[in-house]
Symmetry: C2
Subunit: 184 residues, 2 copies
DNA sequence: CTGGTAAGTTATAGGTCAATCACTAACCTA
DNA sequence: TAGGTTAGTGATTGACCTATAACTTACCAG
C-alpha cells in the first residue's frame, strides 16, 4: 500500500503553512467576505480548485487561519520568554522579555488586522468558534504576564484601538483628534 | 414648472432615514462586502434598483450610513446633556448626564457593531473618509466630557473591547478567560 | 385636461465567485 | 514496470450581485 511513511509529512502538509500565510495576508486586507479564494490561491502560486482539496470550504480555510495565528502567537511568546533565561532565577527579566516579545509580535500589523476582520466574521459559526479559542489562549497568556485582570482588559482594549489607528492612518493626520487617539 | 416648494422635503428625502436605519442594521450583521443591496432594499420595503436612485452606489450608501451614525450620536448626546440643566449652574451633573446618555447610546449594540464593520471597510476611500470624520467628531465630544487624553483613549479602547465581547457572546460563556474580558 | 416631474417597478445585462468535475502528471512501492 | 496514490490543473456550473435601462404610475401646476 503505497503511502508516506508514518510520521512523514506529505508535500501538501508542507504547503499548508504557505497557504496560511497567504490567506492571512489577503484576509487582513479585505476580510472574510471581501476576499476571494482565487486571490489567495494566486498569492500562493497554486490553482484555486486545489485550495478545495486542502480545505473543505472558504469558512474552514478562514477558521484554520485563525487557529494558525493563535499557535504562532503562543509559540513566539514561549520561545522568547524561555530563550531569555529559560526558567532561570530571574523571573522579572523573563517577564519583561516576554512582554517585549508580545509587543514585537503585535507590531506585525498583518496579524492584528487579520484578527480585527476575524472579529467581524465571528457570525459564521466555524469562525466564531476559532476566534473564541484564540482569545481563550491569548487571555490566559497575557494574564500570566500582567497578573491583574484590569490590566489585561486594558491591554486588549489598547491593542484594538491601536489597530484602528493604524487602519485609518491616523499617524499621518496632523489634527488634534488624531493625535489624541494615536498618542503613544 | 411643477416642483416641490423650496424648503419642502420631497418624499424621497423622508424615506432616507428609513433607508439609513435598514442599511445600518444589515451592515452591522455582515459588513460592507457581506451585505447585498437587495437585503437592504427588502428591509425598507422598496425595490433594489430604487436604492440607486437615492445613492449612486453601494460605497456611497455605506459612507452615508457612517455619517448618519455620527450625526445621531452627537445629537443624542447634545439633547441629553442640555436637557438635564441646560448650561445650568451644575456642570458636574450635566457631565454625568452626558456620560449616561453616551453609555445608553452605545448600549444599542447595532450602532457599535456597525462601526466595527466600518473600521474594517476603511480601505474603501469614501468609507475611510467617513469613518475619520466620525472619529473626529466623537473624539472631540468625548474629550470635552472626560478632559484627560489618556482617559479618552481608554474610553475608546474599552468600547471596542466591549463590542468584541458582545459579538463573541462572552457573557454566556462560563470560563475564566471569558470572565476576564467580559468583566464590568 | 394636459404636460412635465417625481416615485417606483420589472427585467436584465455583465460580471464574479464559491465550489465541483474530469482529467493529467508525478511519485512511490513492491 | 505495473498499480495505486498524491499533486495539481483547466473548464465549467449555478448562483448571486451590482448597476443600468426601460417602462408605469401617481402627483401637481396652469
Amino acid at each position: 500500500m503505497p503511502m508516506p511513511a508514518a510520521g512523514t509529512s506529505t508535500k501538501s502538509d508542507e504547503r499548508r503553512p504557505a497557504i496560511m500565510a497567504a490567506a492571512i495576508d489577503c484576509f487582513a486586507q479585505k476580510g472574510f467576505y471581501g476576499t476571494t479564494t482565487h486571490e489567495i490561491a494566486n498569492r500562493v502560486g497554486i490553482s484555486q480548485p486545489y485550495l478545495y482539496r486542502l480545505y473543505p470550504n472558504k469558512e474552514a480555510l478562514f477558521a484554520a487561519a485563525v487557529d494558525h495565528v493563535s499557535v504562532v502567537m503562543t509559540e513566539t511568546l514561549v520561545a522568547h520568554s524561555s530563550a531569555s533565561g529559560g526558567a532561570g532565577p530571574e523571573p522579572e527579566a523573563a517577564l519583561d522579555a516576554a512582554r517585549d516579545a508580545y509587543a514585537a509580535l503585535v507590531a506585525d500589523r498583518t496579524i492584528l488586522r487579520f484578527l480585527m476582520h476575524a472579529n467581524c466574521a465571528a457570525g459564521e459559526p466555524l469562525v466564531g468558534q476559532a476566534v473564541r479559542r484564540c482569545y481563550a489562549k491569548q487571555v490566559d497568556t497575557v494574564r500570566q504576564l500582567l497578573g491583574d485582570d484590569d490590566a489585561v482588559r486594558h491591554w486588549f482594549g489598547a491593542g484594538m484601538l491601536d489597530n484602528v489607528v493604524a487602519v485609518l492612518g491616523l499617524a499621518d493626520i496632523d489634527e488634534p483628534w488624531a493625535h489624541v487617539l494615536a498618542a503613544r
